[in-house]
Amino acid sequence: MEKAEDFAMRDESKEYCRFCARPDGSMQDYSEKLESMSDFIVRTQGLSSDAARRAAREMLSELPAWKEMPKSN
């Protein structure tokens, strides 16, 4: 995150980006983020929901906040 608009609520003191924020500015939990990321992949790339979910789990596991989360169900 480099610019103010990249941060949740444009608040540079926050450690998460706008895509990980709820409308009230608080950070989404893992299941919310997994769900929204999977939905976005299905909507824009047309993958099956299972494949999208697997990919989203892998991607989230690369992010500092979710490194410890399991990659499989």
Partner: protein, 191 residues
């Protein structure tokens, strides 16, 4: 004089650069860690100090290429930027990585889940910007996005036939953009 930390970082960068070069030239699956170490000018053991598993190095290279493409598209997506400008930026970003990206596409289905997810992640970042504006109102975004990617990827995967010498995207990029934006415009999208 470089500190130990700076030397370590420089060694890591030279390993990553050598890996990207060789993955592009020889393929991700057939390039060995010994070849990467030799090209980087480090011992085979030193490579594993920086990347304990071969997959760690592969993921680092895919991640960096993906970040460069995503960043370029992100930077082009300023307020009011049209679809055509974003598509052009997307192609320019891929063209800068054409050899490696084409190999990644060709070998993607044979790579592990982590690598495949990284590829999906690159496309997610691109899709986010492509559909941020008017194009986002088109029905069935996935079909539109896959139409664009399918077109571009077909040329990349057969670049030896379309452009035996030089960059296939330099040669056909503008034609692909004109074709795709024409399709979008004829279907009520703004380009």
């Amino acid at each position: 004089m470089a500190t130990r930390t700076e030397q370590k970082a420089a060694t890591r960068e030279s390993i990553i650069a050598a890996a990207e070069q060789l993955f592009g030239e020889k393929g991700l699956l057939s390039t060995t860690t010994a070849e990467i170490a030799r090209a980087a000018g480090v011992s085979h053991g030193a490579l594993f100090v920086h990347f304990p598993r071969r997959d760690d190095l592969q993921q680092e290279v895919i991640g960096r290429v993906g970040t460069r493409i995503a960043r370029a598209v992100h930077d082009a997506s300023t307020e009011g930027a049209g679809l055509e400008a974003i598509l052009r930026c997307h192609l320019n970003a891929i063209a800068a990585e054409e050899t490696f990206y084409s190999r990644l596409l060709a070998e993607g289905p044979m790579l592990g889940m982590a690598a495949r997810s990284a590829i999906i992640g690159i496309q997610s970042a691109v899709a986010h910007h492509l559909f941020a504006g008017e194009t986002g109102r088109l029905p069935d975004m996935a079909l539109w996005f896959n139409t664009w990617l399918g077109l571009v990827h077909h040329y990349l995967l057969n670049r030896d036939l379309f452009a035996p010498t030089g960059s296939v995207l330099e040669r056909y990029g503008e034609t692909l953009i004109a074709h795709f934006t024409g399709l979008v415009a004829r279907n009520g999208g703004k380009t």
